[in-house]
Amino acid sequence: MQRSLSIDPDKCTGCLQCEMACSFENEGVFNPAKSRIKVFTFHEEGRFVPYTCTQCDEAWCMQACPVDAIKMNFQTGAMEVSEQVCVGCKVCTIACPFGTVNYNRDTGKVIKCDLCGGDPACATACPTQAITYVDSDATGLEKMRAWAGKTDNAQHAAS
């Protein structure tokens, strides 16, 4: 089974545990500035939205890379950047329509989510299940279940 990160912004509280887990896993420090997943706060609306790479199958970043530094990990489905090969040209950061590939000035390479090799630290750290790691073929299942519950006419009539 291939799995994907599933994000439910309604459950997010903006605590940044995911950003700390990500930066610690990948950089060895607690540093939201170096996290591959970001939580955006829309203060006036009272909303928090975690956002990261969705691992496109035909990934723009992979296609744009002139040195083939981005390759799919067939075990996890993640598009992974090879630090040895990346030359820091940043073309992938332009190609990605979602902005989820970013340059790291400390290393001169780009960084993006690699699903931590199949055990994403952000999902483990999330205290509210706003970020979960689920069957890729059923990312919408929980949302369907929630909406299904709301269309139960019999229950509405009874209450």
């Binding site: 605590c15 700390m20 607690f30 500035a33 006036e44 205290p127």
Partner: protein, 618 residues
């Protein structure tokens, strides 16, 4: 480790900014944040100095766990001498500012002297510069936040600022960070404004590393997060209802101070409760509460994000209050609601927004309005002083009017900015002031919860619930249930809570974890992160050392044992509410035993034995 080991020193007299190593010998004794910054304050200032003069210093300090993944590890404190109490001030705040400061590579900032012109401090990692605040001075916190974000051009800049109330000299002004988190009490914002510092902006991209044993730390963090999640208070009550979970609980036991503490139960309590914040309103079908929100790293997420009813009178023509912002927490809802007799949830939320926008402590503000209302009803204040407004208990219009006046220091707002003690003295009724050491009470009536009487009387920063929250034991049964009506055993309970809390406040963690955690849950995280061996015993010892250091500062500042007292009303006027009927606070049954347990003299002075035991300075 875990400490950044660097202090940023800002001399406001000459604009000189320097970096110096953190005193690690002191860190081993005082941990960080509250304890360590107090140690610096004691070393560097004269306790008798004028709190609003250039000789006072203002310290913004993080703890060793601030900025780490430890749940709630995002706290910082502002430490200085208080203009409200004349005692040491230490106000703790969450949000994101503290972790950002740590991530920029600093444990603390020490401001000294006074700037000749209004300035703001801009920190980007190891670079810091003072910038002219011309054009920003005179703005509200929210306006200043916007203006500074425009200048830095970085939405990730975290900002702590003072509002117009602080500039106008209101004695209980807060430092507000991240728009609606507050280092709220004791007028720390007033001190910042007195130094001509409008704001501190920080962007940190270095992160927090140097964890002693990363693997053990992450394991401990994960285990302790589960403890918070599985606890009924931190896992369910606080996320769902916030601290407002307490409004109905405290009212029901007859310990909700009402109408300037004249009564102990409030008819309208439900209308301003956490439950009421969830009820859809008629006008737009939405509840007051939009969502809960977390501070940095916090897996509890008790914060409230709220809106005001769009049809409410208070926000017509005021677009800044017609959107989501930081909503009511229990203490604020009590002070501006029950204590003023106002049960209009939207009016109280409005006053809360104003407190955030213009940087006032909502507890002291609400309690001061309550005192003003009692003065008005007694005829000591008239419409002549207020310019026409009738300050009657229960008047939402009076509350929202007072908030705006105090926020800008306009007209009678200047009087309200004096705080309850000085206001009541000015109008000839000092007995109406519900304060200890000049600081207003929070939301638990000590006639109904005896331990809180001793807590308030002996708190090193004046009346305060956060110095030893015995409500946990006396009402909620955490860690074990004690009878709120009895004084037996409360001296020991208060001391134990005071010492443990001083340690919590010095590590960088939030005291709300203590509904589920004890030091047993914190010591393993501290020990895995920080150099040295950190056991529960060592944390408790540090906590007791910190408590004595603060006490010593206060005694040198001129306070005495006679300041460990409560207003006559709480000692002599019995509660009339059924559950606590006939009760007064029997402080004097507890105080002598408390002094004894502390090892102090009968007059509450530190002894040489205590000084030696904790190696206190001077």
């Amino acid at each position: 480790m875990a400490w950044a080991k660097k202090v940023l020193r800002v001399n406001l007299n000459d604009g000189n900014i320097s970096s110096e190593p953190l005193n690690m010998e002191w860190a081993a004794q005082y941990i960080g944040q509250r304890g360590l910054a107090t140690r610096y304050l004691v070393e560097e200032t004269d306790p008798t100095c004028d709190p609003l003069g250039p000789d006072n210093k203002l310290i913004m300090a993080t703890g060793p766990l601030t900025g780490t993944a430890a749940s709630t590890g995002g706290r910082y404190s502002v430490i200085t001498k208080s203009p409200l109490t004349g005692a040491v001030a230490c106000s703790n705040s969450g949000g994101f500012f503290g972790a950002e400061l740590k991530s920029a590579g600093w444990d603390m900032i020490i401001f000294e002297g006074k700037s000749p012109n209004p300035v703001w401090l801009n920190i980007v990692d190891d670079k810091a510069e003072l910038c002219s605040a011309e054009g920003i001075w005179g703005q509200s916190v929210w306006e200043a936040d916007k203006a500074i974000h425009r200048i830095t051009g970085d939405p990730q800049t975290r900002i702590a600022a003072v509002g117009r109330s602080a500039e106008a000299g209101c004695l209980y002004s807060a430092v507000i960070n991240d728009l609606h988190r507050a280092a709220g009490r004791s007028g720390v914002g007033t001190v910042m404004a007195s130094k001509n510092v409008k704001a501190v902006a920080v962007r940190g991209t270095r992160g927090v590393g140097n964890i002693k044993d990363p693997k053990r730390f992450m394991q401990s963090v994960a285990e302790q997060k589960v403890v918070l999640a599985e606890n009924a208070v931190t896992g369910q009550g606080l996320p769902a209802l916030g601290t407002q979970v307490l409004m109905n609980v405290i009212n029901e036991i007859g310990a909700l101070p009402t109408n300037n503490m004249q009564q102990t139960q409030f008819e309208g309590a439900h209308n301003i409760s956490g439950e009421a914040m969830l009820e859809p309103r008629k006008s737009d079908g939405k509840p007051n509460l939009t969502t809960n929100a977390a501070c940095f790293g916090c897996t509890i997420a008790c914060g409230r994000i709220s809106t005001i009813d769009p049809s409410h009178y208070s926000i017509q023509d005021k677009p800044q209050y017609q959107q989501n912002s930081g909503g009511l927490e229990y203490e604020a809802a009590w002070a501006m609601g029950a204590d003023t007799g106002v049960d209009d949830l939207d009016a109280v939320t409005f006053a809360n927004f104003v407190c955030n926008e213009d940087g006032m402590d909502p507890i002291s503000f609400g309690a001061t309005v309550a005192a003003a209302m009692e003065l008005f009803e007694a005829g000591a204040i008239t419409t002549e002083e207020t310019g026409g407004m009738e300050l009657r208990f229960g008047s939402a219009e009076a509350l929202t009017w007072c908030a705006e006046k105090t926020g800008t220091g306009d007209g009678f707002g200047k009087d309200l900015g004096l705080g309850s003690k000085k206001l009541c003295e000015k109008y000839g009724h000092p007995e109406f002031s519900m304060t200890v050491k000049g600081q207003e009470f929070p939301a638990y009536d000590p006639r109904g919860i005896q331990g809180m009487g001793l807590t308030y009387a002996t708190s090193n920063r004046g009346a305060c619930h956060l110095r030893s929250y015995t409500v946990a034991s006396e009402v909620l049964g955490i860690p074990e249930k004690t009878d709120p009506a009895v004084t037996d055993g409360k001296a020991g309970l208060v001391k134990a809570f005071q010492d443990a809390t001083a340690a919590v406040d010095s590590m960088g963690l939030c005291v709300f974890t203590t509904f589920a955690w004890s030091l047993d849950n914190m010591a393993p995280q501290m020990d895995a992160a920080c150099e040295g061996d950190w056991t529960v015993e060592r944390l408790l010892e540090a906590g007791e050392r910190i408590w004595n250091l603060e006490r010593d500062y206060n005694m040198k500042a001129g306070l005495t044992g006679s300041d460990d007292n409560l207003p006559e009303r709480l000692l002599k006027e019995a509660s009339k509410a059924a559950p606590t009927e006939g009760q007064v606070c029997n402080l004097h049954e507890m105080l002598p035993e408390y002094y004894q347990l502390r090892g102090w003299t009968d007059e509450g002075q530190l002894t040489d034995e205590v000084r030696q035991k904790f190696s206190l300075p001077g």
